[in-house]
Amino acid sequence: MSQQFTGSTRYILDEELAKIVNISMILEMPLLLKGEPGTGKTMLAHAIANSLNMALIVLNVKSSMKLVDALYQYDTLTRLNDSRFGDSGRDVSVIENYIKMGKIGQAFSSDTRCVLLIDEIDKADTDFQDDMLDVLDQMEFDIIEIDKTIKAKHRPVIIITSNAKKDLSDPFLGRCNFHHIAFPDPKMMQKIIHAHFPDIQRDLMENAIGTFFKLRELNDIEKKPATRELINWIRALQADPDFKPKKLVKGEVPYPGILFKKSPDYSRAVNHTRRRLY
């Protein structure tokens, strides 16, 4: 209870989410975050680590990943090399010297409580997900090669993100707390932009956000621009010496390629703005 998470300087936290993070931390349950790309799922873990002064360990899940990769790795190749050349100073007969901790292993063996971010869990297959949750539930795993159990010294704060390409399995969901981060509304977006660009001109910010939300509302867009795109776009607008915020009011959209990354979306957006201009 001593540590409460309240947000950090670069991350704008809404109150609801702060409550959920705190409750999950105290209940020691992993928190599963879903939401559109660009709603700050990954950023949240960074912000928690930052504001609570904990180390952050990131496990980027890949589709081909096996659970054991996330736990530990037995480096047989180095051992073979060492046994042939014998110049490393490691004792070849002690297998433990050749065990390297994976990300989950690192989080378990860390001397202080840390934040473990498991990013884009949905990329892996269901078996991986379920097995991993078993490990996270019991807070321990075995290293078969040396017959040793690694127990977590401190229960890490676990944040799991998912882009929901696949539905997660029921047993998995049963063991997590869940939150869906909705896309920020324009007011919230102003705060986010302000956190990223503390000395942005007011009219630039308002017009850019206005245009951004109008473009998001276009029909038939497959990949809507997200916060990341907006931030990059504003960066581009600021870098352009010829750019005036008034242009946005007139309906001009410079650099649409920063906002729309799929070609049908791009052409649709460009068509739309052109129609409005003339």
Binding site: I23, G174, H179, N219
Partner: protein, 397 residues
């Protein structure tokens, strides 16, 4: 505590597990939950595991703690009902005035927007008076550790100001767009496209690849290793027949077309046809149903493996379906009754479905829906319906 609430959630069809309920009890007993707002957030994050159910959770919450109307499991939307009612009444101000219990002259002074506001106001009054008495005593406000008040040095709490009570938040139904039932909207496009991705044939790996097996076995020095391939299947052909006749279908046509257009790449062939109300001798390739007719008879020449998907509300006068000259288009006289044509299509293609944008629980009010359902397997044009429909199309045999 709150066992009733738990069972109410379960009853409306949200999958909740006793374990998660116990976890919520743990949170309660640890003193983590001080206010009703806390309970709303904690309850949602612990019990509800998918944003699809957030909307319905909001409704149950509002019902349990504020006596708001229970979500009708059949999903009849208050708003849409209100809209139709209003539309109906706008044509007849007298009836409207009577219903609201005010003078007609008052009504006539209001603009439509004001009228809707007024109407909503009245409805809201209604809910407040209609208080079921299952409120939770001592809602909110007593917590000594208000979240909004706590600012440790150098840190900023951003975010929305939380003057609204959890019940109000719940009543706003912010998560409606994520709800699974209800007709498909543009907001759900992404999810819907994912459902269509299932329309890819993938057999089990059960074909022995002999060349590869021999090579591997030689490499293994005689140790036999069998290599299996996925049995080869062609990509699907899809015919989409859309009823673009009546106004009732208007909102759904662009959604359906965009949906299938985005998925086009995964089909071998996607043809779109149009019809009005039901199918007679011809379907049209152009949306105006005038220039390019396509004879239903000619379907026999197409691959019977083609998946045939009809999108329409299947609602019309019974004679349009059954009589020989049924079409409501006077200039268009047909030989066979439409029902025969529909049966013909069903028999021509192995897999057919009918997607209906009308909510499923209203289907039994319409006779023609009954009739058509007996020919085509019918599914609701919603995320759930789409999922079931697609799995029907992809089923074996």
């Amino acid at each position: 505590m709150f066992t009733n609430f738990f069972y109410q959630i379960k009853e409306v069809g949200i999958p909740v597990s006793p374990t998660s309920f116990l976890m919520l009890q743990k949170a309660l007993s640890m003193g983590l939950i001080q206010t009703l707002d806390d309970f709303y957030t904690a309850g949602r994050s612990i019990l509800i595991k998918s944003e699809k159910y957030f909307d319905i959770y909001d409704q149950v919450f509002a019902h349990h703690f504020e006596g708001a109307d229970m979500p009708d499991p059949k999903g009849l939307e208050m708003d849409s009902m209100m809209e139709t009612l209003l539309n109906e009444w706008l044509k007849d101000p007298k009836a409207l005035a009577d219903a609201l219990g005010v003078d007609e002259s008052v009504i006539s002074k209001l603009s439509p927007e004001e009228l809707i506001e007024y109407f909503k106001q009245r409805l809201a009054d209604q809910t407040e008076r209609h208080d079921g008495g299952n409120r939770w005593i001592g809602t909110g406000g007593t917590s000594p550790v208000g979240h909004s008040g706590y600012h440790p040095g150098g840190m900023r709490v951003g975010g929305v100001s939380n003057n609204k009570s959890a019940v109000k938040v719940a009543m706003e139904r912010r998560y409606r767009d994520y709800s699974r039932s209800g007709p498909l909207t543009h907001a759900m496009m992404g999810e819907a496209i994912k459902r269509l991705r299932h329309m890819k044939p993938s057999g089990p790996k059960d074909h022995l690849n002999i060349d590869e097996t021999i090579t591997k076995t030689i490499k293994n020095g005689g140790e036999i290793e069998l290599i299996f391939d996925r049995s080869f299947k062609d990509r699907l052909k899809v015919i989409l027949a859309i009823d673009n006749g009546g106004w009732s279908m208007d909102p759904f046509i662009p959604v359906v077309q965009t949906l299938f257009d985005y998925a086009r790449a995964q089909f071998k062939d996607l043809k779109t046809f149009f019809f009005h109300n039901t199918i007679y001798d011809n379907l049209w390739e152009d949306a105006s149903r005038f220039r390019k007719p396509f004879k239903v008879k000619d379907f026999v020449r197409l691959d019977p493996q083609t998946r045939f998907i009809v999108v329409g509300d299947a609602s019309m006068a019974p004679y349009e379906l059954i009589s020989t000259d049924g079409s409501i288009d006077i200039s268009y006289r047909t030989g066979r009754p439409s029902i025969e044509q529909l049966r013909f299509i069903r028999d021509t293609f192995e897999k057919t479905i009918w997607l209906n944008p009308l909510p499923e629980h209203t289907w039994h009010y319409t006779q023609t829906i009954h009739t058509i359902r007996s020919i085509f397997p019918m599914f609701e044009l919603s995320l759930d319906g789409l999922e079931n429909g697609i799995s029907h199309l992809m089923a074996k045999g």
